[in-house]
């Protein structure tokens, strides 16, 4: 057991800490995870409007200033990070799970059933995700969706490219010698599937989980920004919607910091995900390494 833990450290964790991009990406993501867990427990949230303090500039009392209603922006960002991060992580996880299951199934099932799965994957590839997501969100708009349901709505439009890649991977693994050997040794099919193929796919799935973060963030923030899913008033997408359209913060010079800090946090969190996935790509493909 101890050996497998240290192996895991040397195989997966250590390279991540050694590559500069993945290290910075990890640090950014960890800061936001800390914000969502510890921060949200420590920082109070007072959503009562206080017009006397409207559009205060950033100060010690209000690190990100206050919004149109005089509510502290930092508090909202901290509490919003909980739904932003849980929604993003859950949507990425679901997308990767669906993609992996469908992809492995396609890799294993040949013939007519395989062709049908191929067609399903292709259909999801040719339907443009964001417009489809908008319609799907409109269908469920009146129902109060929970976190899992919104994440699923997002994940439905993210899994297909991954499924296609994984099915290609499985098909190529299937024809390798060691699988052939397992077959000749008369090992049961399930054993071959779960031990050999899954083992090879784990790093692949891990990379893709990180890569999905960008898409899942963009989709969920976009959904909230358009006001198509009501979930949590401090979700950054909803904050951005308030800032731009309800409060019209960019029409007055005083409101600039309101939009700025919301956008900054959205971009920084996605940037963390982008850096981490670039770092992982470099680790697995050393030729890509640039300026270290």
């Amino acid at each position: 057991m101890r050996e497998s833990v240290t192996n895991f450290y040397f195989d997966y964790i250590q390279p991540l800490l050694k590559n500069r991009k993945s290290l910075i990406g990890l640090i950014i993501l960890l800061i936001y995870i800390l914000m969502a867990t510890v921060g949200a427990a420590v920082v109070p949230l007072d959503m009562n409007s206080n017009f006397a303090e409207r559009y205060q500039k950033p100060s010690l009392k209000h690190p990100f200033g206050t919004d149109y209603f005089g509510v502290d922006i930092f508090q909202q960002i901290v509490h919003g990070s909980r739904s932003v991060i849980s929604l993003t992580m859950l949507a990425s996880l679901l997308a990767v799970l669906i993609g992996a299951v469908v992809g492995v199934a396609r890799g294993y099932l040949e013939g007519f059933v395989g062709k049908i799965i191929d067609t399903i994957i292709m259909v999801f590839l040719v339907i443009p995700s964001f417009p489809a997501l908008l319609i799907l969100a409109a269908i469920f708009m009146d129902k109060d969706l929970n976190l899992f349901q919104i994440a699923l709505l997002v994940a439905i439009w993210l899994w297909a490219p991954l499924a296609k890649q994984i099915s290609a991977q499985v098909l190529s693994i299937k024809n390798k010698e060691f699988i052939e050997a397992s077959r000749i040794l008369n090992m049961p099919l399930n054993y071959i599937l779960f031990s050999d193929i899954i083992k090879l796919l784990i790093p692949y799935i891990f990379i893709n989980f990180v890569m999905q973060i960008k898409g899942a963030m963009e989709f969920s923030v976009g959904l909230m920004f358009l006001g198509l899913a009501k979930f949590d008033p401090t979700h950054w997408g909803i904050m951005l919607n308030y800032a731009l359209y309800q409060a019209g913060a960019l029409y007055t010079a005083k409101g600039f910091h309101y939009v700025f800090f919301v956008v900054l946090n959205i971009v920084l969190l996605i940037y963390g995900g982008v850096l981490l996935s670039q770092g992982i790509e470099e680790i697995f493909n050393p030729r890509l390494r640039g300026n270290e």
Binding site: T119, V123, I127, F130, D142, M217
Partner: protein
């Protein structure tokens, strides 16, 4: 040739399944497309909403008792004749709306994509050649940061910076209302001025992704054995860079260029509605808001046709430019 026929048939099946799925989704959206018109009729003529709703449905040609299946059969039959349906909100055929809006979308997308492809190829190759220098660090870091900005946020920022604060760009439309379309300098320059915002919002994220892709491809190819061999043969660096590295690095990107243009049709929805630019994405978001099921299904069908055509062209282009890919 056989490969193309079977590929075409397969894509046709994919198209039918995709369009049917979209049709069911769209027609399951809550809300009554006649409601908006009914409210204004009820206010104008001072009558109860039920009565007004009936009149509105008559005007818009909506039969509430028609089953989903009948509507589906009608939709597919129309599609077969090249008729993408009828917009109840704009009370005109979807084909008419497309013929006025699609040119604007294609204008913006193609120009933005062409420009960003050229710039991205240049920047990516440049960064790869300057590996390990500050220049490479700046180019890749900037590209990564741009990649982290969701496109619709970029569009909003461009709109507020250039149209609201600085007032150098117009607030919406494809050309000013008081200018008549003609081949005058005034009209053509106003077209470019109005398209500039949407073009920037489309081009900037693309420049970043082409740059990163080109940098990655170039770095990989520079490590290949045949590059070493070319160096040993004593070829000049510029020849190696142009003929051996750049050509091989651009090749895979040309194929994704075709697919990219196809997907842009769908991805352009938010950009156009943020800039109020009258392309198909603008009408798409209007159709969602007005619950115009006919227009929605029609536009969605058009976008899917675009993506499928792009996929097919990409296959073809790839086979054409890369001798290693032989068509079965």
């Amino acid at each position: 040739m056989n490969y193309f026929i079977s590929r075409l048939l397969y894509l046709l099946v994919v198209f039918i399944v995709a369009v049917s799925g979209i049709f069911v989704l769209v027609n399951n959206m809550p809300g009554d497309p006649a409601y908006g018109l009914a409210v204004s009729i009820a206010q104008q003529r001072n009558m109860p909403i039920d009565q007004a709703l009936e009149i509105a449905r008559n005007i818009m040609g909506i039969d509430p008792d028609e089953s989903l299946l009948t509507r589906y059969v009608k939709f597919m039959a129309n599609l077969l004749r090249g008729n993408l349906g009828y917009s109840a909100y704009y009370t005109t055929s979807v084909n008419d709306i497309i013929s006025t809006s699609l040119p604007w979308t294609i204008f913006v997308i193609s120009l933005a994509t062409f420009f960003s492809f050229i710039v991205g190829i240049f920047l990516g190759a440049f960064a790869a050649q300057k590996r390990g220098t500050v220049i490479e660090w700046i180019i890749s870091t900037l590209s990564s940061i741009i990649q982290a900005v969701p496109p619709f946020i970029l569009a909003v920022l461009i709109l507020f910076t250039f149209s609201v604060s600085l007032r150098v760009l117009p607030l919406g439309g494809a050309y000013p209302v008081d200018v008549k379309p003609s081949f005058s300098f005034k009209f053509i320059s106003s077209i470019f001025l109005h398209a500039l915002g949407p073009m920037l919002a489309t081009a900037i994220p693309q420049i970043a992704s082409w740059t990163l892709a080109m940098r990655g491809n170039t770095s990989q190819i520079m490590e290949e054995d045949f590059i070493r061999f070319a160096e040993i043969r004593g070829l000049r660096d510029t020849v190696i860079a142009r003929k051996y590295v750049r050509n091989n690095a651009v090749l895979p990107l040309v194929a994704s260029l075709a697919i990219g243009v196809g997907y842009m049709l769908g991805g352009h929805t938010l950009v156009e509605s943020i800039f109020n630019y009258p392309g198909i994405g603008f009408y798409f978001s209007k159709a969602i808001a007005a619950r115009d099921f006919g227009l929605l299904s029609g536009l969605f069908t058009l976008i899917v046709i675009g993506v499928i055509a792009a996929t097919f062209i990409a296959d073809f282009v790839y086979a054409l430019i890369d001798p290693r890919v032989k068509l079965k």
